[in-house]
């Protein structure tokens, strides 16, 4: 554990990628194989289920620190991170623990079934025996992700350096649904294993937003354009008469979308399709808000299936006839996909093709992009016809070309302290628009200002607080911000009657008074008809 805590501390105390990779590589070269598997699992968000809920954690910690619970809660609001708060308020132990990372995780897994008093005894004993930083890491293993700026890609790079196995091969091995408790390092990383491949998706290829004008990309003939759909990016894997649906977060979501089992009847084994899961109520593409009703559910009722069915909008083919065809040019992969589509397509099958937009001049593509909201897309995707299907987010061959966001001017009404690097600053804001003479909440946003602006707004909030509700403060309605968002739909779940997608702060309108903010009515007019 000492070594894992030291690793996290090193990762947490630098912003430099090279230093992070070096620290991880040294860790992977040094620790026993079982600890490596757990470290990989944790850094790729495969933690064991939480054995103790946070209410109990807070109660137990306050007791051990010998402070009233309200004081613990206040400290937590200010520190902004539960594990860090626990690590800070309990007096530090002098020695460090000798238990291994694997041993701790085994204990944490076993703790789930323990009685409340056993849980308390276990936590008190271990908190008291760990020094400050180890206690923080130990508690993080229980509560949540580390947020230390280590992407899967960065970890894979370090693992590749330590094992001398190719990065792309490792990315593939690490995908999917493996259990760190059962799998060995040998099996996960070192061995080639046939049956693992049955359900495995390929690492997703992700695009960056286009930087300049599309004209800078060169001649239109080299580029394919299609709409950028606003659903759930996913891969559908059909092998050995089974279907597996993977979301971009590498989550297996097959059971959530039973519609797709119909693919088994017509699509042959050895096929992997890359596409977007989209809601399709009443035979038309719906909004992301429609899809929200499906995302959270593990099992789907018949009524919901009927009300909000989904389709797969396919745009790429990664495996065909059992062969990995990612190295083929996009043009050839598309040709096979289109042929597959034309042979199996029926009205009932929830399999649609993301149509290629033909254009000879960039202006034609621009015109099509303007139609994005009408067809319920976020803009266009531009892909080079000769591009292979790469791993992760890469520049050059694929670009997102989104439409400009919708914007309104809104009034800041509530503020909450941020988390992580923004703890102790009020950075999470609630915004309202006018409805008659009242300000009605319409969105929350917590990004878009510079650090200096956040400090300025934070200072203003502290001076203009009206009321406090735990971590939340209501403030004098005075500041106006321009809020941008990607999509908008009617919603009965929101007081304003409107749901916005990806709301964020575009800029602080210091030139505007609150009377000049927009109204809910004006917001509603932005809803596509």
């Amino acid at each position: 554990m000492e070594e894992f805590a030291a690793l996290i501390r090193e990762l947490d105390s630098t912003n430099k990628t090279t230093v992070k990779v070096a620290a991880l590589t040294r860790y992977f070269q040094r620790v026993p194989n079982k600890d490596k598997v757990w470290a990989i699992a944790i850094l790729s968000h495969r933690r064991p289920p939480r054995p103790v809920n946070t209410t109990l954690l807070r109660t137990f910690a306050a007791e051990l620190a010998n402070i009233p619970l309200w004081l613990f809660e206040e400290s937590y609001h200010i520190v902004g991170d539960l594990a860090e708060t626990i690590a800070l308020v309990i007096p530090p132990a002098e020695e460090s623990s000798e238990k291994s990372l694997t041993q701790y995780l085994q204990e944490i897994i076993d703790l789930k079934a323990a009685t409340e008093s056993d849980k308390k005894a276990y936590l008190h004993e271990n908190w008291a025996a760990l020094n400050y930083y180890e206690r923080f890491v130990f508690t993080k293993l229980i509560t949540g992700s580390f947020r230390i700026g280590v992407s899967q890609k960065l970890m894979t790079r370090a693992l590749s350096k330590a094992t001398e196995i190719d990065e792309d091969v490792l990315a593939y091995k690490l995908m999917g649904d493996w259990d760190p408790q059962k799998i060995t390092f040998q099996k996960l990383i070192l061995e080639e294993n046939e049956e693992d491949f049955l359900s495995k998706p390929y690492p997703f290829y992700l695009a960056y937003a286009i930087e300049g004008a599309p004209e800078d990309l060169g001649v239109p003939a080299d580029w394919s354009a299609e709409h950028k759909w606003d659903g759930i990016r996913s891969q559908v894997v059909i092998r050995n008469r089974e279907i597996f649906v993977w979301s971009r977060g590498e989550e297996l979501v097959t059971d959530k979308y039973p519609e797709f089992s119909a693919f088994l009847e017509v699509i042959p084994d050895g096929t992997v399709i890359d596409g977007e899961i989209l809601p399709f109520p009443e035979g038309n593409i719906g909004t992301f808000n429609d899809l929200q009703t499906r995302i959270g559910r593990k099992t789907v009722s018949k009524a919901l299936l009927k009300k909000t069915p989904v389709i797969l909008k396919a745009y790429d083919l990664l495996e065909w006839e059992g062969k990995d065809i990612r190295d083929l040019p996009f043009l050839e992969r598309r040709q096979i996909l289109e042929k597959l589509y034309s042979t199996v397509q029926t009205e009932a099958l929830p399999f649609h093709l993301s149509e290629t937009i033909s254009f000879k001049k960039w202006e034609e593509a621009t015109t099509e992009r303007e139609r994005a909201r009408e067809v319920k897309s976020e803009g266009l995707m531009l892909k080079r016809w000769d591009s292979p299907y790469l791993v992760g987010r890469k520049k050059g061959d694929w670009w997102k070309w989104k439409v400009a966001p919708l914007t309104v001017d809104a009034v800041l009404t509530y503020a909450m302290r941020g988390h992580g690097r923004r703890s102790n600053l009020f950075t999470d804001y609630t915004f309202a628009l006018w409805q008659d003479d009242e300000l009605v909440t319409f969105a929350k946003a917590y990004s878009g200002l510079t650090d200096a602006e956040f400090r300025q707004v934070d200072a203003w909030i502290k001076k203009n607080t009206l009321e406090r509700f735990g971590p939340v403060r209501s403030v004098t309605p005075q500041l106006v911000f321009e809020i941008a968002f990607e999509g908008i739909a009617e919603s009965s779940r929101h007081k304003s009657g409107v749901a916005t997608r990806f709301p964020r702060i575009l800029r602080w309108r210091q030139d505007k008074k609150i009377e000049e903010a927009n109204t809910i009515e004006e917001l509603k007019q932005l809803i596509p008809k």
Binding site: S13, N15, I67, I78, E84, R421, S423, A452
Partner: protein, 346 residues
């Protein structure tokens, strides 16, 4: 509040500062007044524009350096001076060199205003001394149980080790700390056997003022003429406002460190984007505050800057008659935020 006798408190908080009406004197006022007793030299406590300043004699050259030619009289710790029948005396606060608490006695009632203070002996400021009183006005910059300082020796060992490590990698160590107080405290315990210590002009100027009262290692001011090669691998002490400025480019390649109580929070360190945070404060930690208040034997506590509401609620639960008061003191926040804004412009 109905339970109190209706007599006006000996010290009250008005728009200009902490006012002692029977004496006609303000303590650390934030608006210009006729007569001001000043606890220490930080900008939020010793402001410009008062007609007459009274402070500890060590603090005299410090505030003169900051405020220019002012009318000021210096006092010894423990020396009683009477203004309109009110007895005043200064006691060491241990915050920075020349810092004081102010004891005020009138008609048998004793009040103490702490100014900023810390309980640990930092080897530089005269150590804090608890003063018996009826009412205690305390700061609570770090008045949360999440703050617990490590002994200075341990922190300074970490800093010297960090310097050595950077040096072995051919990098300069740039260490940020407030130019009055923190910088000299760091300087006193940096190990000159590792290498030469360079300073930013603001720190060098202030250190010159403090040198007659403290035994400090030799420093070299960084000027336009200073060669890049001279600095490489050395220690550079700079005010927090130098972080991210063009001035710092001369130090490339460098590692940055910051010494502040706020560095106890991971989020604060990342927000300041420094490579290393060292938890070192000139204010009390949680236990330090509680122990000091207890040692005064007071019944009444008024909590000023910091986590005052949380802290006073806790004190009330402990049986004190505690309340909060609004002031314009900033504590260590001055070090973290507003100061940097001034300089970011330059």
């Amino acid at each position: 509040m109905p339970l109190k006798n209706q007599k006006k408190p000996l010290l009250c908080f008005d728009k200009k500062g902490i006012y002692c009406e029977p004496a006609g004197v303000y303590l650390d006022p934030w608006k210009p007044v006729d007569k001001a007793i000043i606890t220490h030299g930080h900008a939020d406590h010793s402001r410009w524009g008062h007609k007459q300043y009274i402070t500890h004699h060590t603090n005299v050259p410090i505030i003169k350096h900051r405020l220019g030619e002012i009318e000021v009289s210096g006092k010894e710790y423990g020396e009683t001076f009477v203004i309109n029948n009110v007895k005043f005396s200064l006691f060491p606060a241990g915050h920075i060199i020349g810092s004081s608490q102010v004891r005020v006695e009138h008609k048998g009632e004793v009040w103490v205003f702490s100014g900023d203070y810390k309980t640990e002996d930092d080897g530089l400021a005269v150590p804090y001394e608890p003063v018996k009183c009826d009412a205690f006005i305390t700061e609570c910059t770090f008045g949360l149980p999440a703050f617990k300082w490590l002994p200075q020796e341990q922190v300074m060992n970490d800093i010297n080790t960090w310097w050595q490590q950077n040096q072995s990698e051919g990098k300069t160590s740039v260490l940020f700390g407030y130019s009055l107080g923190k910088a000299q405290r760091l300087l006193k315990f940096l190990d000159p056997s590792i290498g030469k210590i360079f300073t930013h002009g603001a720190i060098e100027n202030m250190t010159d003022v403090v040198r007659p009262f403290a035994d400090l290692p030799e420093t070299i001011r960084i000027t336009r003429e200073t060669k890049k090669e001279e600095i490489k691998g050395r220690m550079v002490l700079a005010p927090p406002s130098a972080h991210g400025s063009t001035w710092i480019r001369k130090m490339v390649p460098f590692e940055t460190g910051m010494a502040s109580g706020w560095m106890a929070f991971r989020g604060a360190r990342r927000r300041r984007a420094v490579d290393r945070g060292f938890v070192l404060s000139d204010h009390c930690d949680w236990q330090g505050l509680l122990a000091s208040i207890k040692a005064t034997g007071c019944e009444r506590v008024i909590c000023t800057h910091g986590y005052s509401e949380i802290f006073s609620r806790f004190l009330n639960e402990q049986g004190y008659d505690a309340r909060t008061a609004e002031t314009q003191y900033e504590g260590e926040l001055a070090e973290m935020n507003s100061k940097s804004e001034e300089n970011d412009e330059n």
